[in-house]
Structure formats: C-alpha cells, structure tokens
Amino acid sequence: MTEDYFSFTERLFDQSQTSGKPEALKGIRVLDLSRVIFGPMVAKWLALFGAEVIKIEQPEEGDDWRSGTYWGKYWKDSSPYFQSLNPNKYFVAIDLKEEKGKDLVKDLAKKADVVIENYRAGLAEAWGLGYMAMSKINPKIIYISCSGYGQWGPMRYFPSYDLISQSVSGVARMTGFSEKRTFKLPDYYGDFFPAILGVVGVLSALHHRERTGKGQFIDMAQTEALMRVMHNWTYMSATGQDIHPTGNFDPTMAPSGIFKTRDGLFISIAVATKEQFLILTEAMGAVELATDKRFQETAERLKGENAAIINEKLAQWVHTQNAEDIITLAKAKGFAAAVVMDDEKLVRDEWREARGSVVEFVDDMYGNSRFAGPAVSLHKSPGRIKRLTRPIGYHNRYVFKKILGLSEEDIRKLEKEDVIGYWDNRVGKRPPSYVDISKDKIFNYKKDERA
C-alpha cells in the first residue's frame, strides 16, 4: 500500500533533521555593505541558506537600524528588529572614509562572490567601492546596488525610503476606504518586497555565473518592485480608468471583505470563482444566491451594485456565526476564510512552528529566542537560523585573521589607526551587559563559529 501523502511529506520536511542537512549556498561569500532593511534582507536570505555573509559597518555607529526600534524598546541592549534582519552574519567594522579601510574592503572583495550595497545611488561609486572598482579587482563579482529608483535614469539621486517609494509608485493611494484617507502598507513592505526581488536577482546571477563564469551588475530599484505588483497599469490601459481604494473589498473578488463575527472576531472571506461561490452559498445555507442572475456568473457578481449587495448578505451571515464555526465550514467545504491573526498569535502559532517558519532556539549571546524562520521550505537544503546578531566589530579578528590572514599585530595597528573599530557604549550597539567580552572566545578568535 502506498504511504499516505502527508505522512510522506512529513518525513521530507522533518524539522528535527534540518541542522544535519546540507546548505544550498555554502561556500558563497557575501560582503554586506548595506543598512536598515532593504539591503540587509537581501543578505539575510543568503545567510539563512548557508552563504558566509560579512556585514561591514562603520565603527561606533554601525547600521542605523541598530538604534531603530519600536517605541524606544530594546532587548538585552539590542534592537530586536535589527536581530530579526541580520541573523547568521559576521560583523566587522571598517571605516570606509579611510583609504586603508577601503583597501581592506577591496581585499575582502577579491575573495567574495557577491557585494550588496544600498547607499544612495552613486555614493558607493563616489567612494571608490562601486561596481567599477570592484569588478576591476574581481571580474566575477556579482554586485547588487539597491536604491529607490535605480542607478540609471534622471531620478536616480533622489532620496527614498519605504514610504517614499510607496508614494512614488502610487501604492500609497490604494489602501483604505476612500481617496481622502489612505493608509500606508505597514511594517515597511516597500523594503521587504523589493528585497526579495533583489534576492531573486542575486540568485539568478549566481546561476548565470555557474554556467558562463561571468559576474554582473544588478540595479535593484525599490519603486519598480512595487510597480511590478500593481494591477493599475494594465487596468488603466484597458479601461481608461484608475483603480481606487475599496476598503476591505478586494475588487477582483466578490464577495470579499473583512467581517465581524458573532463572537466579535474579524474574519476575512473572499470568493475568486464561480465554483467557490457555489460552495460558499451552500455553507451559508443560501444556495438560491448561486442561481440568482446577479451573482451566478463571476463577471456579474463583480459589478459595482451586485458586489455591494452580495457583500452585505455575506456580512450579515458572518454576523450570526462564530468564527470557529465558519472556519470549520471553510475546511469541510473549501472556501477561503481566515481569522485575522495578530503579532502574538503569529509568534506562538503551532502550525508555523511545525513548518519551521517560527523558530525557538537558544542563542549563545542572547539566550532564549523566538523569531521568524525561513519563509519557504526546501526539503534537501533548508534554510536555518544559526545565531542572532553580534555587536559592531564582533567578528573583526575572526574575519581578518581567517579570511585575510592578518596577524594580531596587523590588527592592533589597524585599531590604532582607527581603520577598524568596535561598538561604542550606546544601547543597540554594545553587547548585553552580562557578557564579558574579554573572555569571549569568538570575539578573541580562539574558536570558530559553529558551522
């Protein structure tokens, strides 16, 4: 007898086996010159799947996001957001304003496969650390520049952030109940989405290099990433009109919305097809709607007036049901429904833990930790979190000795000349107060990080 499908897949994706499995990107060396979210997230993917990512920060200052946190809260002297953005990386601090600092970066670049930067367009180039310089010393290098509008074109030098990009792309006008009051996409979607397309760019360049031996330059523009996901352009060219904000109604699906249940929870339900609509009406005990001329065909159901009527009927039905009962029906019959989750439920979600997208672990420096794991599962070469972040310059010795072959004397000299450095004593940059750094074996490079 054949094994049940889910028993078969359960074995494939057995989370307890993850740490023993190979890493897809092992042996790939990445220089991460980036900061805040966009660039660091490109590097994070590579680090989760086994690349050796060396994050280069400015001594004392470090990544701006080290001090960026919500409502002033820190976790063991660190920004917990920064932790989430930069696991598995090696932290070195080099002063890029010093010629000798630039030389150190270039020495690392000679031995690297990928360089990631997200300074304002043109700045890395002006510093002599751009693609022109790097490709000269390492022609096989894959160099990705992440910026608001790209390195090429008249808007290139204009400043950008997540929210600015949401506005320049038009995304800003899409969320909410009316044109007069739109909301931003929260939690910096304008950084996280472009970052994943940057990852795709780097991975495709690595694949291209496997086949041809050639490196390349990648120009990743935040705003173009957001434009790629908008249906507005095609809709406009076909109808001559724009798509306007429609609140919780998804204009491509009717009925659709976020509704309040009898027990006061918010639940979303959306119907994409005729088949799904029939199923929903059965669940509602209102099959007559499925043969109603206004709703029977998807094309009719989506039209303004009809959509409003069917949405209202659904809202009323949801109001008479408990959330759990709706989910039970959705599972049994097969229509799309989900209770609106929240931060706490997410991080404590058993399903996510079983998938490996929420992971609990003990970090050598920060202790008990619970963070998001890889967002997709690969059964033979899965991603994994091996450690959290470290203070500025924590891996200086590790990287300079192991990779560049510098001696203790060389390093002391560079320290003295302020070419390399460490954290200063501000929160977000320093080690947790309970760590005695003078005895730390990794910091003093008495031992390797765990593979």
Binding site: R181, Y189, A272, A336, R370, A372, S381
Partner: protein
C-alpha cells in the same frame, strides 16, 4: 546648457568624483541601455506550471518566464479558473486582468486531467522539466501519479515547487487542504490587516484594513521563486532536485518577521495606530494645499530640519516635545500631529518637496552631517506615475498588443541585470493557444 544634476551627498561633489560618476553612468548606459542579444538567466530551464485558481502559482511562472525560462502553463480544457478574477468585472477578451498580467512569456496548453492520455502527456512533459509548479490542492497531483514522489523517481533533478495556502506538510496543512487561495485571506492569516486602520473611525471603517494591493500573493510568489532559485543552485552543484514548499498564507509574515519580533518581545499584539508608525515620526501621509504629500523625517535630526523648513522652530523648545525619539510616545504624538497637519496644509506639494530637497542638498554638505534630511514628496496617483519619464527610460512599463483588443501596459520585473536581463517577450491569453506547437514538439498525443 544641461541643468546640473542635484546631488545629496558631499561625497558626490568635486570634479574628479563627478567625472567618475559620469563614467559609471556611461557604463550603465552601455550595460542597461539595450538588452541586445543578451539572454535571461534561466535560459533553457524548462518550467511546467499546473494550477487551479491559485494566484501565487501564476506569478511564480510569470517571474521564471520573465527571467528566460521556457514556461508551459497547463490548464484543463475549460481553462484555469484564475481567469475569472478581475477588477470590477472588467475583462480583456474574456480574461481577468491579473491573469493577463501574469501570462507573460508562457505557452498555454490544455490537458484533460480526467483522461488517462492526459496524465500520460503530463508525464512526458515532466520527464524533461527542470521545475514543476504544483499550485493545485495539496496531494492532488500525487493522487494522479504525478506528484513529487512519483516524478522524482524518474526525474531526480526536478525541482518541485508546491504552492498552496497551508503547505503540503504539517497537520494543519492536511486539515486545511480544501481551503483555496486568495490574497485577502492570506493577508489575514499573516496578521497583516491587524496593523492597518484607525480604531477611532465609525464601524465598519474601524476594522482591520486590507492592504489595497495583492501584498500577500506577490510576496509569497517572490519568496517561492527565491526558494526555487536556491534549490536550482543546490542542483547546479549536486545534480539533485528537491521539493520546495510554499505556504501562501504564511510567507508574508514569515519574510517580514516584524510581527514575530513584536509578539515575542511584548507578548501582546500591536494596536492599530492610523497614520503613525511604530518606529518613526513623522512617517505618513498628509494633506497639503493641493493634494497629498508623504513625509518621512524619522530621525531626530530629520524632524528638527522639518520644523525649521516649516517655520515652526518654536516647537523644538516646546516642553511637550523636547525629548528625542518623539515617535516613542503615542500620547504626545497626537498633539504634535495636530501641529504638523496645520502646517502641511498651508503649502503646495511642489513647494514642500522643493524646499525639503534644497534643504537636504545643503545639509548633506554640512561638515558634521547633523542637520538631517527630511523628505517630502507628492503622494502620486498611479495615473501620474505612468507619465514619469524616468520609468520610460528604464523601460519599467512595456506595451503589448492583445489579439482583437489593442494595446495594454504591463510592469516589467526588476532588477535590471547587466548580463542576464529579464524581458517580456509576449503576452498570450487564449486557452490552449499553444497546443499545436507544444504537442508536436514533445510528441504528446492529442485526443480527437
């Protein structure tokens, strides 16, 4: 004379640096100006996409195709039901806008899944494939004898990407396998709407609010493509294929991860805070004299720069706001927000953005670099965005003819790659439009 390009860093001034930047620009022009004969990174990679009303699956296929893969989308004879979804019921030749957009570079064929010959045809195709996108109900292809365990036996190099709401493993995956994919429900299971909205508004506008684009669909599709590419690199070195599992109801939250951080460290969820941000202030949309502006002035230095520009330096010394990191105090924010709103509405969008840019350019040359750089831009409508010359130069939008319809515009996939650029070659939408070509090429058997 050409107008001098405005720069916002002291490091980008000086004759020598300017020359260097000019040289870089020239190189970019050569690398990016025209694609010429360059091929995409996934040239010769063969992809099969099988899906039913599954939007992330559609997007995965489109992105792989745009990077140069040969993508064959297999539909049942009546077509993929994903064709039905479209904005307000507007179709292009009977096909929904999202489906049209995500049909780029695909060959469209039909195969009858209920017919043994059809399954034989799929088996033939799969033997020669590098990547299979399974966007059907979990276990469905396995039942038909074309799931991962059967195919990997004959094609061990295959990368099998399973795309479904709750994934192809775990107890919940099993219990929820009937639930179809939609962006809205995926957003909700990822906790995304819980972060948007204003509890102060009247019901139901005070509910959690849907992101007005397919935020979850596109995020999960892109994460899945990154997973596929990672598996492809593993294969490049080992020759081994593998199974990639994407839970589309999870990827948005897992990739962004900030909800997890908040939940872990606070042990309670965030409340909805309207126009505010949890880390930065001001960081939101404001009414200007002639429309809306977006303001990002997150650091204390940026904020001080902003009130200087707005002529409200008096606020700097106001007892309510003298502390740094003003964004950390939501109660005081309400008061400060009132002052901000009062100021922005006095000026036009143009004046606000010109003033802040001029300030930023000057502040960037400051020795101590302590003057900040507040940014104010017009909150553009999409109809204003398409007119921008910058995107024309970069070919961010492309136009295609749809048979019997006319021209349509679609956005192209970033990033721009100097050696292996992505490219939209065609957009087709007809059900089974490429049957003849594909059936012949792969010697499939056509039922009469």
């Amino acid at each position: 004379m050409k107008k001098k390009e405005q720069v916002f860093s002291k490091h980008m001034t000086g004759k020598k640096t300017q020359e260097q930047l000019e040289q870089f620009n020239k190189l970019l022009g050569e690398m990016m100006g025209s694609i010429g004969g360059k091929k995409g990174a996934l040239e010769q990679i063969r992809v099969l996409e099988i899906g039913h009303a599954n939007f992330p699956g559609l997007v995965c296929g489109a992105m792989l195709g745009e990077m140069g893969a040969d993508v064959i989308k297999i539909e049942p004879p009546q077509g993929d039901a994903a064709r039905e979804a479209t904005h307000h019921g507007h179709y292009i030749q009977g096909v929904g806008i999202p489906f049209v957009m995500e049909s780029r570079n695909k060959l469209l064929i039909t195969i009858d899944f209920d017919d043994e010959q059809g399954i034989e045809n799929i088996k033939k195709l799969v033997r020669k494939a590098d990547i299979l996108i399974d966007a059907m109900k979990p276990g469905y292809l396995d039942e038909l004898g074309i799931g991962y365990r059967q195919i990997s036996a004959v094609n061990p190099g295959l990368i099998y990407a399973a795309v479904s709401p709750y994934g192809h493993y775990t107890q919940k995956g099993r219990d929820f396998q009937n639930i179809p994919d939609t962006d809205l429900t995926a957003q909700s299971e990822s906790g995304y709407p819980a972060l948007t909205g204003d509890p102060g508004l009247p019901e139901p506008d005070n509910y959690p609010v849907r992101a007005g684009i397919w935020a979850a669909t596109y995020m999960s599709a892109a994460v899945c493509v990154a997973g596929i590419m990672t598996a492809l690199l593993h294969r490049d070195r080992t020759g081994e294929g593998q199974m990639v599992d994407m839970a589309t109801y999870d990827a948005l939250s897992a990739w962004m991860g900030f909800s997890h951080v908040w939940g872990f460290t606070n042990e309670k969820p965030r409340i909805r805070v309207g126009n505010y941000d949890w880390c930065l202030f001001p960081y939101g949309y404001y009414q200007a004299k002639d429309g809306y502006v977006t303001v990002a002035a997150g650091s204390d230095a940026d904020f001080r720069g902003l009130i200087k520009i707005l002529g409200r330096w008096d606020l700097e010394d106001d007892w309510r706001f003298v502390f740094d990191r003003i964004a950390d105090d939501p109660v005081k924010l309400d008061e400060l927000e009132k002052e901000m709103k009062k100021e922005f509405v006095k000026h036009t969008r143009k004046v606000l953005s010109e003033k802040t840019l001029a300030y930023g350019a000057k502040a960037a040359r400051d020795k101590l670099r302590s003057k900040g750089f507040p940014i104010v831009v017009s909150t553009l409508k999409p109809s204003e965005v398409v007119e921008e010359k910058h995107w024309k130069i970069r070919r961010s939008f492309e136009e295609f003819d749809i048979k019997d319809h006319g021209r349509i515009t679609v956005p192209s996939l970033p990033p721009r790659m100097s050696e292996s650029p992505s490219k939209i070659e065609w957009i087709k939408t007809g059900i089974g439009e490429d049957n003849e070509e594909v059936y012949k090429k792969y010697k499939l058997i056509m039922k009469d």
